[in-house]
Amino acid sequence: MKKDTNRYRKLLTGSVVPLMFLIISIISIPISNFSTDYLLNGIITRLARNSFLVLSLILPILAGMGINFGMVLGAMAGQIALIFVTDWGISGMGGLLLAAVLSMPISLLLGYFAGAVLNRAKGREMITSMILGFFVAGIYQFVLLYLCGPVIPFRSPNLILSRGYGVRNTVKLSTFGVLDNLIYLKIGNIGIPIATFIVIGLACLFIVWFRKTKLGHDMRAVGQGMGVSDNAGIPVEKTRIQSIIISTVLAGFGQIIYLQNIGTLNTYSGSEQAALFAAASLLVGGATVAKAGIPNAIIGTGLFHLMFLVMPAAGKYITGQAMIGEYFRTFISYGVVTLALILHAWKRQKDKDMDRESFRGNKDIIKEG
């Protein structure tokens, strides 16, 4: 009996956020006046663009480290790789693959660093990973803004700011649309970048496979309880670092896929929002800070970007002011993360209180809780 109510409650807290989102979107779609073709195209493009980034968040959640806001480290690694590939003038599929290969050592290094830092901040991984992202962004800025040119040699002078050093604020990438256009299917007015979806599918397969390996099982065990895992002989700290490294490397690939779709890189602000949008997407898909799967990632990406697409137009038609819709969707993206974090933490605290009360054998207080 107790188990049933628990499951019911879990289902409810699990689907509050996606349901809320679905309702908001269903209400705003007719108001936004967009055609079905336009919306479908938009959603497909955004799914192809963002899913990989969202998938990169799954493994740290499995390892009990919450949402890895430090995925921006990987995003930065991807951007650095793309800048160099563009500088060397390598375009096409070769350029894209080279960027992916180049991003890996940077991601590995940054991921190891992030994992080691987070091991020293157990219990507050999320806030630490977030601030760590800001910190590394500062170093990233320093390297690109001051060292590129004089210290790190560049071949193409048009990538460098007119003052003689530092990478330009926007970089036109040589790998624009490479993956999307590799196999591009057009049904009616709707275009589908098949190759990109194949890559995303491969990432999903990787995650499914990985969860079944020894390391994957270890990660799950560490996520359930670090003390128990340690007693069972699992190297807890090492496993946690590995989950962050994989997440960072995947985020690097994700950012490369994202940017080949966009075509231009905002050198100094491109990675800022990556973690927010990825986290919001995953949580909108019904994931919690402790449990996330591939369906959460894909459904969430679709739903979140549907909202992102229709909200400014809907807001404009309702209030007559374009800015309101703009602000509303930013508010919703942050609000969704906030709400999901609160729901999860609240539930955890309630469970803990209940355990304590039942341990004391005091049944009256449970009702009040």
Binding site: I127, L132, Y327, Y334, T338, L341
Partner: protein, 345 residues
Amino acid sequence: MDKIKEFVKDFGIARLIIAAFLLLLFAVAPIFGVRLDTSISDVLTRFGMNAILVLSMIPMIQSGCGLNFGLPVGLIAGILGGVISLEFRLVGLAGILTAMLIGIVFATIFGFLYGELLNKIKGDEMIIATYVGFSAVFFMNMMWILLPFRNPSSVQGYKGEGLRTTISVEEYWFRAISNFGQIKVNKYLTIPTGMLLAFTIMALLVYFFFKTKLGTAITAVGSNPDYARAAGISINKMRTISVVLSTVIGAIGINMYQQSFGFIQLYNAPLAFAFPSVAAVLLGGASVNKASIMNVIVGTILFQGMLTMTPSVINNAINIDVSEVIRIVISNGMIVYALTRKVKK
């Protein structure tokens, strides 16, 4: 030798490096044509502008709610106070004091709700506070457009509705507190007595509050919740009180900042205050669960000193503006460092 080691350990290696860096900047400043008295004047003014915001960290740290990344909640209350006082078109001290009073009322309400929320999610306060701060700012972005403000100096000129991004308080209460008892030593050095006095009053209030029975109870909740519970202290109530206090001080702090700066900044502006204020108190030697007035004073001087001195001295020395990057790296590095330190029980 042991004494030196102990001193370094007590003072904190990070603080020592920054302090040494700052001293070095002051020492070499005259070589690069930066006037020392101008620099000191700047540091004092910035100290007056920011110290109360940093002070607002203390109650929440003491009660165990962690670093107040949700500072924007308090700032919004203060900003509301500011723009409402402009609606009444009050000038001078009356204007700024009204702004503060209204801000305090809003901050009490917001702080209460914010505190109740934080009570439901113990253990995850910091990440949730950060996101509550973000959400509050973006929610208010819509409100700044929709709320019916009428004063022509506050609303956007061409439409007559929706608040401006920055509102000048020049004709109302610009420097109302800064000018109070201001001492001009020479052309370059001014001592903002009013602001320093205001900070001293606030700091003393906080200091003596934590000496009262209520204040001690809050500290007890922060340092040992189980003991506090056993002593019959209501943990949730104490935490809520501390959050309300932090929010109220934050609201007063932003009004102080505005009157000296001369502008009320709206929309995304409150986001720019939380992380620097957190970094400053940490730089002053506070930890995630312990902070004192001394930490606030030392931290604000070091942090603002660094912000003042790096652009002027380093730009003059090497002609490259690295101050922004230095600010990002040091402030966030400081926060990461504090979060990864083993908590002393």
